[in-house]
C-alpha cells in the first residue's frame, strides 16, 4: 500500500529529491569550508608557533629566517614552556605563490625526538601505514589529499629534491591544511632545504657562519604547561627571546579567521541559497501535489471526511513522500559529490563534506517543510466547500 502510494507520487518524489539534492550538495560545500576553517583554527590554538626573524626559506606558519639551536634552547628555558619541537617547513614547489599558504603543498620536517607539543594534535590520525618514528630517514607520511592526488600509498616511492623517499603512512582526511602536507624526519627536511636554497648553500660552503645541521630550523612548535595561559607564555617568549617571530595563538587564530572571512561569508551565502532554493522547490512541489488532488479531497469530504481526518491523511502521505524524496535527494547528492570529488581529487582537492549533521538536518528540514507545505495546501482546500473542490478539480 505504501509503495503503491509512493509510486503514485513518483514525480513529486523526484521533484523533492532534486530540491533536497541541491540543498545537500550546496550544504556539503559549505560544511567543507567550515571544516577547513575550524581545523586550521584548532591547529593554531593548540600551540605557540615561533619562527626565526627575517625573510627566509620557510613557508606556512614559519615563513621567517633561521631558528638556530641556541634559540631553541632559549625558548625551552622560558617559564611556562612545556616542549619545543624544531620544525622545517618548506614549499614543495617554491615556484608556487607563497601567498596561498592555506592551500599550498608543504614539506614539514619534524624532530621526532620531541613529542608533538600541539595540544589539539598530540598525534596525527593515520589512515594507512604508520606515522614517523624517531630514527627514521628517507621516509614520508602523506596528507590524504596529497596522497590521493598522486595515487600514493604505503610502500610507494616519492622523489623529493632528487632523493627517493618511501611512503610509510597516509593520514586520515582532516579537511584542513595537513591534507596537503608531506611529513618527513627533520634531518631529511634540512637536506631538502639546503638543496632548494642557493644562498644557504653559499653561506654553508663559505664557512662564514658557524652553522651546524641543528641550526637549520624554520620554526618551532612550542607547547605550554598545564595551567598556563598560552598567550601569556607567547608574550613571555616575545620579551625574553630575541630574534624570533612569535605568534600569540589568539592572534594567529584571529589572523586566520580574518583571512578566511571571505570564505565564511561565502559559506553563509551558500547555506542561505541552498535553503531558499531547496526549500522553495520542495514546498512548491509538495503543495502542487496536494492541490493536484483537490477533487479527491472534495470527494472524501462528500463521503464524510472531517478536516482533521483529511489533515491526518495528508500529513501521513506528505511525511512518507518527503522522507522518500529527502532520502532520494541525499542519495543523489552523495552520488554527485562522489563524482565531483573524484574529479577534484586528481588535483588534491575535496569539495564536499557530507557530515551526519548536514544529512540529518536536510532530512528533518525537508520533512518539516514538506509537512508545512502540505498542511498549508490542505488548509486552503478544506476552506472550499466539497462541491467547489470537486468543481475545481474536474
Amino acid at each position: 500500500m505504501l509503495l503503491r502510494m509512493l509510486r503514485g507520487y513518483a514525480f513529486t518524489i523526484a521533484g523533492i529529491a532534486i530540491g533536497v539534492g541541491g540543498l545537500v550538495t550546496l550544504g556539503a560545500m559549505s560544511e567543507r569550508i567550515v571544516r577547513f576553517i575550524e581545523g586550521g583554527d584548532r591547529f593554531v590554538l593548540g600551540q605557540i608557533s615561533v619562527a626565526g626573524r627575517g625573510m627566509g626559506m620557510g613557508a606556512g606558519f614559519t615563513a621567517g629566517g633561521l631558528l638556530p639551536a641556541a634559540t631553541l634552547r632559549a625558548l625551552a628555558a622560558v617559564r611556562g614552556v612545556a616542549g619545543v619541537q624544531p620544525q622545517v617547513m618548506l614549499p614543495l614547489n617554491p615556484s608556487v605563490s607563497q601567498f596561498m599558504t592555506l592551500t599550498q603543498e608543504l614539506v614539514l620536517g619534524l624532530d621526532l625526538a620531541v613529542p608533538m607539543p600541539n595540544r589539539h594534535y598530540r598525534a596525527l590520525p593515520v589512515r594507512a601505514g604508520r606515522f614517523l618514528r624517531e630514527g627514521d630517514r628517507r621516509v614520508a607520511v602523506l596528507g590524504a589529499s596529497f596522497a590521493a592526488a598522486r595515487g600514493l600509498r604505503p610502500g610507494s616511492r616519492l622523489a623529493l629534491e632528487g632523493a627517493s623517499y618511501e611512503v610509510v603512512g597516509v593520514l586520515e582526511r582532516m579537511l584542513t591544511a595537513p591534507d596537503r602536507f608531506v611529513f618527513v624526519p627533520i634531518q631529511d627536511a634540512r637536506e631538502q632545504w639546503v638543496a632548494k636554497d642557493r644562498l644557504l648553500q653559499t653561506v654553508l660552503a663559505s664557512g662564514a657562519a658557524a652553522l651546524t645541521a641543528a641550526d637549520l630550523n624554520t620554526g618551532a612548535a612550542v607547547g605550554w604547561k598545564d595551567g598556563e595561559e598560552p598567550d601569556a607564555v607567547a608574550l613571555r617568549i616575545r620579551e625574553r627571546v630575541p630574534g624570533v617571530n612569535v605568534q600569540l595563538p589568539s592572534e594567529l587564530s584571529g589572523l586566520l579567521r580574518s583571512s578566511t572571512a571571505f570564505f565564511s561569508a561565502l559559506l553563509v551565502g551558500i547555506g542561505a541559497l541552498a535553503l531558499v532554493i531547496g526549500g522553495l522547490s520542495l514546498a512548491n512541489t509538495m503543495a502542487a501535489a496536494v492541490f493536484e488532488r483537490i477533487r479527491d479531497f472534495g470527494v472524501k469530504r462528500a463521503l464524510g471526511a472531517t478536516d482533521l481526518q483529511l489533515a491526518r491523511e495528508v500529513l501521513a502521505e506528505s511525511l512518507a513522500v518527503t522522507l522518500a524524496g529527502g532520502l532520494g535527494g541525499v542519495a543523489l547528492a552523495l552520488a554527485l559529490g562522489a563524482v565531483l570529488d573524484g574529479w577534484a581529487a586528481r588535483s588534491g582537492q575535496e569539495l564536499f563534506d557530507f557530515s551526519p549533521r548536514l544529512l540529518a538536518g536536510a532530512l528533518v528540514f525537508s520533512v518539516l517543510l514538506g509537512a508545512a507545505a502540505a498542511g498549508y495546501a490542505t488548509r486552503r482546500i478544506v476552506a472550499l466547500s466539497p462541491a467547489e473542490a470537486i468543481r475545481r478539480g474536474a
Partner: protein
C-alpha cells in the same frame, strides 16, 4: 426524512453581478419516497442537490435530516452528518483514481468509523451484486463508464444511508447500465431510503416518484 425550506443560492458572475440560482426552494421527501428534480441545463438542479447534501452552503433557508437541523452546522459537523446520512451518486462517478474499485467503495466506511472487516464483507457483496466483483482490484482508469458507475453506486450505498442523492446518475451510461442504477435507486427507496434524483429526463423515474421542475429558482410540481 429530508426537509428543505426556502433554500436560496446565488453565485457571482465574472462581472460581479449576482446570479440567483435558487430562490426559496421548499422540498420534503419522506423515507421510502423518490423525488425527481428536472429542469433545463443551468436551472440549478446540481446546485440544489449540493445544498441538500451539504456539499455547499446555502445563502438562506433551512435544512433538516430527520429531526436534525443540519443547515447551520459547522464544517466538521456537516462532514459527519454527510457520512451518517447521505449517499451520493454523481454523473461523473468521481472515483479516486489512485484507489482500486474495492478501495473506492471502502472509502465510504473509512470516515464514519465503521469496522473494517465488516465493511469489506459488505463491499465485496455489493460489488458481486452489481456484477463487478472481478474488477475489484482494477483502477478506475481500467474500468468502463458503466463499471465505474456501478462501483460508485456500491460506494454510495455501502453505509445504507437514509438519504440518497443522485445527480444525473444515468447521464453518462448506456441503457443497460442506466437500468442497473435506476433499479438500484428504486430498491433503495423500497428499502426505506429517501431518494432525490436530478435529471434532464423525468421519465427515468416515471411511475415511482414525485417529479418536480426547477424554474426561475423555484421548485414546482411537474
Amino acid at each position: 426524512m429530508l426537509r428543505a425550506a426556502g433554500l436560496a443560492k446565488a453565485y457571482r458572475a465574472p462581472s460581479g453581478a449576482p446570479i440567483r440560482v435558487l430562490d426559496g426552494v421548499d422540498l420534503a421527501v419522506k423515507a421510502g419516497e423518490v423525488a425527481a428534480v428536472t429542469g433545463a441545463s443551468g436551472s440549478g438542479k446540481s446546485t440544489l442537490l449540493n445544498l441538500l447534501g451539504l456539499l455547499e452552503d446555502a445563502d438562506g433557508g433551512e435544512l433538516w435530516f430527520g429531526d436534525e437541523r443540519v443547515g447551520g452546522l459547522g464544517r466538521s459537523a456537516k462532514s459527519r452528518a454527510r457520512g451518517r446520512w447521505v449517499g451520493f451518486v454523481f454523473q461523473a462517478f468521481l472515483l479516486v483514481p489512485s484507489l482500486t474499485a474495492l478501495e473506492n467503495v471502502l472509502l465510504a466506511a473509512r470516515y464514519v468509523g465503521r469496522p473494517a472487516a465488516e465493511a469489506r464483507r459488505r463491499a465485496l457483496a455489493l460489488l458481486d451484486e452489481l456484477g463487478v466483483a472481478d474488477r475489484r482490484d482494477h483502477y478506475p482508469a481500467q474500468l468502463s463508464g458503466g463499471e465505474q458507475q456501478r462501483v460508485a453506486w456500491c460506494r454510495a450505498v455501502l453505509n445504507d444511508p437514509p438519504l440518497l442523492l443522485a445527480d444525473e446518475p444515468t447521464g453518462n451510461l448506456d441503457d443497460a447500465n442506466g437500468a442497473v442504477i435506476l433499479d438500484g435507486l428504486r430498491r433503495r427507496a423500497q428499502a426505506g431510503a429517501a431518494v432525490v434524483v436530478a435529471s434532464h429526463h423525468p421519465e427515468v423515474v416515471a411511475g415511482w416518484g414525485a417529479v418536480y421542475r426547477l424554474r426561475g429558482g423555484r421548485l414546482e410540481a411537474a
